[in-house]
């Protein structure tokens, strides 16, 4: 999985009830635990090798981190619907402190014996959402966020995390930022002893893309990133950009998006297999990871589960063809 699993309608309503002060934080936390266990179980039943907690605790990919970033002030009245973004602002230097993500990871480890992955929204994305009233530039703000997050990543590794994904969807909207984004990314992962993936898509806000274009803008700058894997969307956009991995000689693994998360149409295993085969034309199997294009947050549970099953079945077809 890229990160999130389907967000059930009942959970959306309960989240909004919490913001309306109609249920307690304690009750909400219990609901989150139950939803996370269900998401983990669904991934296991679908047959995924690597699972996440489905991220039911996150209102969206920004606020979960903005709330935890020390030194960032948020206006709690600024949300009408739980999925809205908080109005957030930074007015002083960010202090170095924990984001408190280790309990999420421990929870995941407790409820699965599969390999796990934890996903963290990256500094570039967060710096685009936090109003900056202190730092001289977005880059300076993002660099300090990266330093705080570096501590968090090390804490996660200490807790046992072996595979961490950094989500940076805003790269595609602001390709001109990429040179400093890579520096910030390297600050974030410095000395972190785990497999690091960077997920770069074209946005999935409200289940629709925020930008369009080609991944060509990533190259060659992204090759300076000290990460192990790029996780990109190919199902919705087609596989044309796969050729970039032939054109540029990178050492990255490639997380290949083979499930379109912006439509309810469920892929057949054969479609998935075909998409994987296209990726195999540019990279060897040991460098390819199979994933959906992005999080499954906006899909119904039935659709999300069926898509994951198709992804697993499609992967099995290819593995069989490869004799694995």
């Amino acid at each position: 999985m890229v990160g999130s699993y389907a967000m059930p309608g009942w959970l959306e309503r309960l989240k909004t009830e919490y913001f309306a002060r109609r249920i307690s934080r304690h009750d909400l936390d219990e609901i989150y635990d139950a939803a996370a266990k269900a998401a983990i179980k669904d991934q296991e039943i679908a047959g995924l090798d690597i699972v996440t907690d489905g991220e039911p605790r996150r209102d969206n990919m920004v606020d979960y981190f903005v709330e935890r970033l020390p030194g960032v002030q948020i206006d709690r009245s600024s949300k009408k619907f739980y999925y809205d973004f908080y109005d957030s602002v930074v007015q002083g230097k960010l202090p170095m402190a924990s984001l408190g993500l280790v309990p999420d990871f421990n929870f995941l480890q407790t409820f699965t014996e599969r390999q796990t992955k934890i996903c963290i929204t990256g500094p570039h994305c967060l710096s685009k959402r936090i109003r900056n009233q202190y730092y001289p530039s977005e880059e300076a703000l993002a660099t300090d966020i990266a330093k705080v997050m570096n501590l968090e990543l090390k804490a996660l590794v200490k807790a046992g995390a072996k595979y961490i994904q950094i989500d940076e969807p805003y790269y595609s909207g602001f390709p001109e930022d990429l040179p400093w984004c890579v520096k910030v990314l390297n600050t974030m992962v410095e000395g972190v002893d785990a497999k690091i993936a960077v997920h770069i898509c074209y946005g999935n806000r409200y289940g629709k893309p925020s930008w369009e274009g080609s991944y060509r803008y990533l190259f060659p700058t992204i090759m300076e990133a000290k990460v192990h894997q790029l996780t990109l969307e190919f199902a919705r956009r087609g596989g044309e950009d796969l050729d970039l991995f032939k054109e540029f000689n990178t050492n990255f693994e490639l997380g290949v998006g083979v499930i379109d998360v912006k439509t309810d149409d469920i892929e057949t295993p054969e479609m998935v297999a075909d998409r994987i085969q296209k990726a195999l034309k540019v990279l060897p199997p040991e460098r390819i990871f199979i994933l959906p294009d992005c999080g499954l947050f906006h899909l119904s549970r039935d659709v999300a589960f069926a898509k994951l099953k198709a992804m697993v079945e499609g992967t099995r077809i290819v593995r069989k063809e490869l004799g694995k």
Partner: protein, 483 residues
Amino acid sequence: MIVKLNHLQGKAAATSAQDVIGTVYTLLEEGHIEKAQFARLQIELDWIQYKQNFREVVIATQGYNERGQQVPIMDVHVDTRQVVPGCLRAALLRALARSTPGAPQEQDRLPLEQFQSMRTSIVWEFNKLYWSRLHDWELATGKGYEQALPGGQSDGHNPEAIADSVADFWTLLRDLESKNQLPPEIYLLEIGVGTGTRCGMWLTKFRTVDQERGTDYYPRLRVLLGDYSLATLDMSKPAVEDHADLCSFLVLDALNPLKTLSFLRHKIMQVHTTNVYDNLPDEEVVRRDGKLYFVQVRAYLPMADVAALSNEFEIPPDKLRSTVSRLLSGSTDFLGDAERGVAFWMQLWNAIRLEERLVLVEDLPDFPFPQGLDAGKVEDILKEAPSDFRFHLSSGALASFLNTLPLLHPRGYLQVQDIFVTDLDQYRLGFYGPGKLDGSLLNWVNGALLKEVAERAGYNVRFAPFTYRKGSRTSVLYTTRRE
């Protein structure tokens, strides 16, 4: 008794309010209205936007539970525009008598269907017939359909409005190009093409602007003209003849453009539609005393009209229903010749009325809400709404809206020019349809509802009054991406 006068604000017919109150009191004193019934009576003095509509001068709308038993709620609607001196007493008595338990129901009218949601009523089949046989209707009236519009022509053709629309679109393309994000093919979609005039004018203006500024966007345009009527599509072709190389014509259901155009998901830069949402199937809900009631309707013909149609077209009254079915199957020459068939159709349509009843929504979560709505969303929306009011669910408009948004490019937008209720509070001040416009049906669109639903789908919606023609009641809905 509650009497609502708000709808008469600024209308000459306000004087009839005194007549209504006086007549109701007289009926109470004479024992025609029971005291218990009187206490719960709510009388709305309406001014129907469209003079040609589905209402008799007085209708009484009785409440029922889901098991068909009467509940003590009754709305009486008086169309003050139709009130003539001396008619009120008889009309009120007739309407109230129909709501008395056990009263004979069918003596003064010929029902054409069972009570049901307006969304599925037979009246929409008449609407469909009109658009598929538009030429026959226009031949009979000697007028093009646009001449029936207020102002005698579509606001969609206004040259200033078109120039502003072109300028906005060109600016968007320029901005995308500056970021190297302009796709090689630039898709535009018009849903409901009308005569094609707006599209033709828009393209001509765009070509001029593009040439003046030397940007060469015009040849990259791919313009899709979509309409569910093949006849209308054919009619629109001459208007875009100058731009034929850029245009494609598609039979498309306005309720679900995505079904036809799924290959263009997230690719269309601009979707435009004028006076389409007001012509899509709709239904209404009443909120009263903290409860929701669904409005069911039944189309009927008053007996006087049954007699007139029967005499004039030599159709026995007991054959009238089957004759209507034959008409709606699409044939207008079933009475011997097409001209006579159209004359029957026109007279029939003019005579059709809708009666109503309110059905208590007892199980909100399982209520068959239209696409985009569910119990939770409706409850959220109603939190800020008036406590006693009647509103449109705008089912067809909602479906069309939600099935169009996924077509938009991330920077693309939807423009809808129509008659919108832009704030739920406006329902306090007026009853908004439905009305008849020539052979078609139109209804105000609950823009406030669209706005709420759009927010959950990732779009902000704003409404701008159409200022290009004095007195225009239309406004323009614009979407922008919600972050």
